[in-house]
């Protein structure tokens, strides 16, 4: 196809946040026992959409094992135009 040059802009990405060893410990994770050979660097925290809606998870990236899964905002990352409207 001879086509004029079209732009394909790069879109946004979900940032996977680092998790500290203290945070893992607070979640009940014993690295030596539960994930031998792994460090806190092997875990990330980020939002996911799944059964039951949006959750903020902490996962071991190599095995996808979830160590924390907490309900997140009802609409996830989407903000309504009416969000923040105060009527009182």
């Amino acid at each position: 196809m001879s086509e004029k040059e079209t732009k394909v802009p790069e879109g946004p990405s979900v940032q996977r946040e680092a998790v500290t060893e203290n945070e893992l410990r607070a979640l009940g994770v014993d690295l030596a026992r539960d994930f031998p050979g792994s460090t806190a660097d092997d875990f990330k925290s980020y939002p996911v959409l799944s059964e039951g809606g949006w959750f903020k998870v902490v996962k071991h990236q190599k095995t996808l094992q979830t160590v924390s899964r907490e309900p997140w905002a009802l609409l996830g990352p989407v903000s309504l135009t009416s969000e923040g409207l105060e009527l009182d």
Partner: protein, 655 residues
């Protein structure tokens, strides 16, 4: 440490003892199965009631609706049963129900209420697809919901009936309804009806349809209450959980069947409704470990400037459709299908648009590529189980005008490229005339269309050599011609014509991309000539291209060397009486190497005009001799020449 699922998830449901089963589901295995089947019967019964009584053609002739049953808030609204109808709705109704009820407040619901919402960002789909929710109480306890999502013929906005990829924001798109009551104590809420009917067109059709929807919600409520009365609330709620667990386990088994790995692919659509300077590209990265998967869409193009976008819930639906298709096609779809799949989706892409500028209307044009991208990504993991791509775009056509007596009319998704081919599988050639993988609808009857509107459906046929070649052949592109008898405005939305969408798999070839044209009666007047618009290549030179990669002189399809014609170059196509619109859909993808196809099957395809004699030689290495037009049964295969040709092709391909 908390894990994704309770520890008992690792035990197969079939391996549970009767005591374990009863402890978990508050009923026995047999009763749970009966109640699960009963839930699927209920939603189907609700749909049958609406289909049989609807007035609007989009409900009556397209089956543009779906029904579900969901559990109560304390179970987090598990959607345990869905109807066998519009798939595009099924994944959104699950979260749409939760989002609507949670915002309204479940504590504010009463028996006899019908709660509605049509906001794409809260509940998915587009503003015409109103979600109707009926809470079900056992005594004072909220125990379940039945829902119907049904396309309303119009919901305001700048385009009659709404179907267009050219609307620039939510204000042009149509009326947005946050959670509000449509019925209270089984009485209509006048303010809500007034809000809709002061903003929507074609209300004479909407009103009886909404009343029918209400009656079928009541039907669903009564049927569910019958189950609860007979088996008890605890058994009913246990069966709700059990139904979802069955689907979760089936998807988990499907995921286990794939090799662990990271699988990536891209798909996309041609442009939006502003100009053709920007192409929208979808990126998917699937990470699969054991029985768990992540589907990450990071890097997908930003949201489009017009209403071609999809919402996050439309994308969730598409992920579910793709995974069910590929690895878990046997068990019913419900909330549980997503239990071991996490979707990672940033806001503000064209498959996760946000208000007010990321308008969502023809969302399937962006969400069906999600299905195709997952098909592409998992091709290597699936091996011979891979499935070819479909025609990838409804190329939806809407038209409107005014009858001689002043009555306005509108067609909805009847005269474009709404139906077309699927991709082939290891088992067989593909179907040629269905709807995109993520839909599932009826094909409106020609007689009904011609009875209701000033249009004649001239042709529905297959186009030779558009199928993706393969050991099993992809479906053929569909040609549809419509003759418009009066002055008419048209809205045409073909968004996947730059490249073929019907990707070939397991050595098969990709189906050919299609196009759209308008033929002015001065060029060829069907009514005066009393003949169909020809299909020969010469006829296209006098056409006005709407979309496709075409030879700029001949205006014929030329995917390799042609020029792209942009669908929204003219936002509203206005035609005089006797103009003809022609759509050719994309072809479906082939499965397996074409040279492995039995020559007799190729000969049969030539006889049936799925492929030409030249195509048989070029794509399959089969030399067919004879005249398919005048002596189709006299065709024969020249086996010596075929062997020589296939040997030559094998040498060229390094086999």
């Amino acid at each position: 440490m908390t894990t994704t699922h309770p520890e008992w998830d690792s035990t197969s449901l079939k391996d549970l003892t009767e005591e374990e089963f009863a402890h978990r589901y508050s009923t026995d295995r047999f009763t749970a199965s009966v109640l699960g089947s009963r839930m699927r019967y209920v939603v189907q019964h609700m749909c049958t009631g609406l289909l049989a009584n609807a007035f609007s053609m989009i409900l009556r002739d397209w089956y543009d609706f779906a029904a579900t049953i969901s559990g109560p808030p304390e179970q987090n609204y598990p959607m345990s049963a869905v109807s066998n109808s519009l798939t595009l709705f099924l994944g959104t109704m699950d979260d749409g129900l939760r989002n609507t009820v949670e915002e309204y407040g479940p504590e504010n619901l009463r028996k006899g209420d019908v709660l509605i919402c049509n906001d794409p960002y809260r509940a998915g789909n587009h503003v015409n697809d109103v979600l109707f929710i009926r809470p079900i109480f056992a005594g004072d306890r909220l125990v379940s919901f039945v829902t119907l999502r049904a396309h309303q013929l119009d919901m305001g906005g700048v385009v009659p009936a709404g179907f267009s990829g050219t609307k620039r924001n939510v204000y042009e798109n149509g009326l947005v309804l946050g959670p509000m009551l449509l019925y209270s104590d089984d009485q209509p809420v006048a303010s809500t009806f007034n809000l809709i009917f002061d903003n929507a067109r074609f209300c004479a059709l909407l009103l009886p349809d909404i009343k029918t929807i209400y009656q079928n919600l009541v039907l669903g409520e009564n049927l569910v209450n019958g189950s609860i009365d007979r088996y008890g609330v605890d058994a009913y709620l246990g069966a709700t959980r059990y139904s979802c667990d069955v689907s979760a386990e089936a998807m988990r088994d499907g995921l286990r069947s794939l090799p662990d790995g990271v699988y990536e692919a891209e798909e996309g659509i041609d442009c939006d409704g502003i100009d053709d300077d920007i192409e929208y590209r979808l990126k998917v990265k699937i990470t699969k470990v054991g029985s768990k998967a992540e589907v990450d869409f990071s890097g997908t193009s930003p949201e489009a400037r017009t209403s071609i976008n999809a919402s996050v819930l439309d994308t969730k639906t598409a992920v579910g459709v793709a995974m069910k298709f590929l690895i878990d096609p046997e068990t019913p779809f419900n909330s549980g299908s997503y239990r071991d799949i996490d979707i990672i989706l940033p806001a503000g892409t064209f498959i996760s648009a946000t208000p007010p500028d990321g308008a969502v209307f023809i969302y399937w044009e962006s969400s069906d590529p999600v299905v195709l991208a997952i098909f592409r990504a998992l091709e290597s993991a699936l091996g011979e189980r891979a499935v070819g791509g479909d025609y990838g775009s409804l190329s939806i056509h809407n038209a409107n005008g005014v009858a001689a007596d002043g009555t306005p009319w509108v067609t909805t998704a009847q005269c474009g490229g709404e139906h077309g081919p699927w991709g082939a599988t290891k088992d067989a050639d593909a179907d040629n005339y269905s709807v995109i993988y993520s839909a599932n609808n009826l094909d409106p009857a020609t007689e009904a269309i011609e009875s209701d509107f000033p249009v004649v459906i001239l042709r529905k046929g297959y186009v030779p050599d558009t199928c993706g070649a393969g050991t099993n052949r992809g479906g053929a592109g569909v040609m549809k011609d419509s003759l418009w008898l009066t002055d008419t405005e048209h809205w045409s939305s073909p968004l996947h014509t730059k490249r073929g969408s019907g990707v070939g798999v397991y050595g098969g070839s990709t189906g050919r991309a299609g196009g759209v044209w308008v033929f002015d009666p001065q060029h060829f007047n069907v009514t005066k000539k009393k003949d169909l618009l020809p299909t020969t290549s010469e006829i296209y030179a006098g056409s006005t291209p709407v979309a496709g990669v075409l030879d700029p002189e001949k205006k014929t399809l030329d995917p390799e060397n042609g020029v792209y014609y942009y669908f929204a170059a003219t936002q509203t196509w206005r035609t005089k009486p006797n103009a003809v619109f022609r759509y050719i859909t994309n072809g479906g993808g082939g499965w397996g190497d074409p040279v492995d196809r039995d020559p007799e099957r190729v000969k049969r395809d030539v006889r049936d005009e799925y492929i030409t004699i030249d195509g048989a030689y070029r794509d399959y290495g089969v030399v067919v001799v004879g005249d398919p037009a005048h002596d189709p049964e006299g065709l024969r295969v020249d086996m010596d020449a075929t062997t020589a040709r296939r040997t030559e092709m094998a040498r060229q391909n390094g086999r």
